[in-house]
Symmetry: C2
Subunit: 329 residues, 2 copies
């Protein structure tokens, strides 16, 4: 790894939940003992009201992961979780039995709903909830507006993304993703500033459609990326023909994108051609895609993209910064 | 005990929480294997929104007690309770650390708040929550309006009853009890009918000021009792000079009532003189009060009033029914 003197002062990252959280932990590991700041703009399209409580799956995954209280084996939620409250809700016939609400997790949802109802915006609420932990990063919701990612499964029916994803295990073919209310939404306080003032902008290896893509649906955010002085570097969430995590393949197919490292990069587009990307990291097994991407105006490199340990993930972050240095921005 | 053929068809009872629940269990024990129905009109003055959740201490105590899932040792809440969620709320700095919210109990509060927000009234919500259990009684909230019992502790300050009771252990002298919004409230659906159609009406040995008294603050309920065809029989919550449970003494003193079995009866008043009571049961140790009460127009008897077992409590209920038979109504 490079010495920290070579680190940029401000890193801003766009992120989904679980994969984004693991990547953020690697970035944090890379910038430890440096003056570099990390700001994470987090997808809020999966958020939902459930039993009168506000659940923000991606903000929660980011917070728990960075706080070190996430369940690493299960891949989501809190470690040492129990479901006593949830069992009561099901017994009363009011629970959504397809969505697990752990007891520790419920503490977050109750606190968040209460703070929101007291009149705070989601950015302030996220700051309040984060104060309890030593995150080493600032979490910003993409927007404070309630813009749900919904999945069209037939002519008449759309489902909340979490219902499609968790309840139906993405088994119903997705025809398109819609974001009702997105046109009227604005970025949360701090989001545009974090993009404008960044020295490097990273797109985490999160789902390009429903995580990063949902962030980009909020008016002003994609434009801010295009206008940013910092290079925008993405990390492929697809290795070979499989996503690192989750069901990105189904999402990519639904929007007609190719399920490959290069396909995702083309989906984002080259910044020099009106797209978003200055650079793109692919996994070693996708090294043959590098030349084509470079030809298409996207600086590219092939490095190991498996987030096994914080050290390995920090190497990925370092490779992204190295690639940023090559973009000439 | 009398054979059940002598039981009235319909018993309606006014009740607070913990003591009322124990008494209701005794009534239920008495009427088991009979066709007698038991309807409990339950105090809602202690209800509160806490962290965006609706807590109804007396309805909860009634439900848990009749369901047999209450914590008998502690005297309130659910048996086998844990406080994992509550600890999270405190860690986030949003919990009310003076009010214990158990995990199982929270299931009730979350479900209730959710059902209320979905547009159901508290009576319907109470029925929905009760469906899960085999209560052997119908629970009715006194009102669906949010009428808090508040305690005036000085010229400028009133506290929610639960804050005064639980947080301050009733240590701040109560100057008066106020019920903001009571004048605009109406009885919950079913309450007036349950009083009108009853064959016997019982006042549980609950706190006469903040439990039974708060019910009587809801316009229409006291009048319905005065106009009921059924006899109204109360059980003294004071034995000697001490309440069976809780801190009724402080409450009685605050309204200038004598802390004695006869004092509580005089507080309710004789129905023949515009009060509420046809009959009043005092504990054996207060037998000397019987003659004076009879002189004041209140049929009275002295029997053991300790609710040790369901059998003993059923004997109290039977004594109340026997006294009702003597009132001539």
């Amino acid at each position: 790894m490079q010495p920290s003197s070579a680190l940029p002062a401000r890193i801003t990252m766009l992120s989904g939940g679980v994969g984004g959280s693991r990547f953020a932990q690697g970035v944090r590991h890379l910038i430890r003992r440096s003056a570099t700041s990390l700001t994470c703009i987090v997808n809020t399209g999966d958020d939902m009201w459930l039993n009168g409580l506000r659940v923000c799956p991606d903000l929660d995954s980011m917070m728990y992961g960075l706080a070190g209280v996430n369940d690493r084996d299960r891949g989501w939620g809190r470690a040492g979780e129990t479901e006593r409250v949830s069992a009561e809700l099901v017994a009363y016939g009011v629970g959504a039995d397809w969505f697990t609400l752990g007891d520790l997790d419920l503490g977050t949802h109750i606190a968040r709903a209460q703070l929101l109802r007291s009149g705070l915006g989601l950015a302030q609420v996220t700051r309040r909830l984060s104060e309890r932990w030593d995150l080493g990063a600032t979490l910003l919701p993409a927007t404070e507006h309630e813009v749900e990612t919904r999945v069209r499964v037939d002519e008449e029916t759309t489902l909340h993304f979490e219902e499609w994803w968790v309840r139906h295990r993405a088994a119903l073919p997705a025809r398109e993703f819609v974001h009702p209310g997105a046109a009227e939404a604005i970025p949360a306080p701090g989001v545009l500033e974090a993009i404008r003032d960044a020295d490097v902008i990273l797109l985490a290896p999160s789902n390009p459609i429903v995580s990063i893509g949902a962030i980009l649906q909020i008016p002003g955010i994609a434009d801010a990326l295009r206008e940013a002085s910092a290079p925008v570097i993405g990390l492929s969430p697809i290795l070979g023909d499989a996503p690192v995590l989750g069901m990105a393949a189904q999402c990519l197919r639904a929007v007609g994108a190719e399920v490959s490292a290069a396909g995702v990069a083309r989906h984002y587009g080259a910044r020099s051609y009106g797209g978003l990307l200055d650079g793109w990291l692919v996994d070693e097994q996708d090294a043959e895609a590098v030349a084509g991407l470079e030809d298409a105006g996207i600086a590219a490199a092939a490095v190991p993209l498996l987030m096994g340990t914080d050290d390995l993930t920090a190497d990925m972050a370092q490779a992204a910064l190295d690639l940023a240095g090559r973009t000439g921005r």
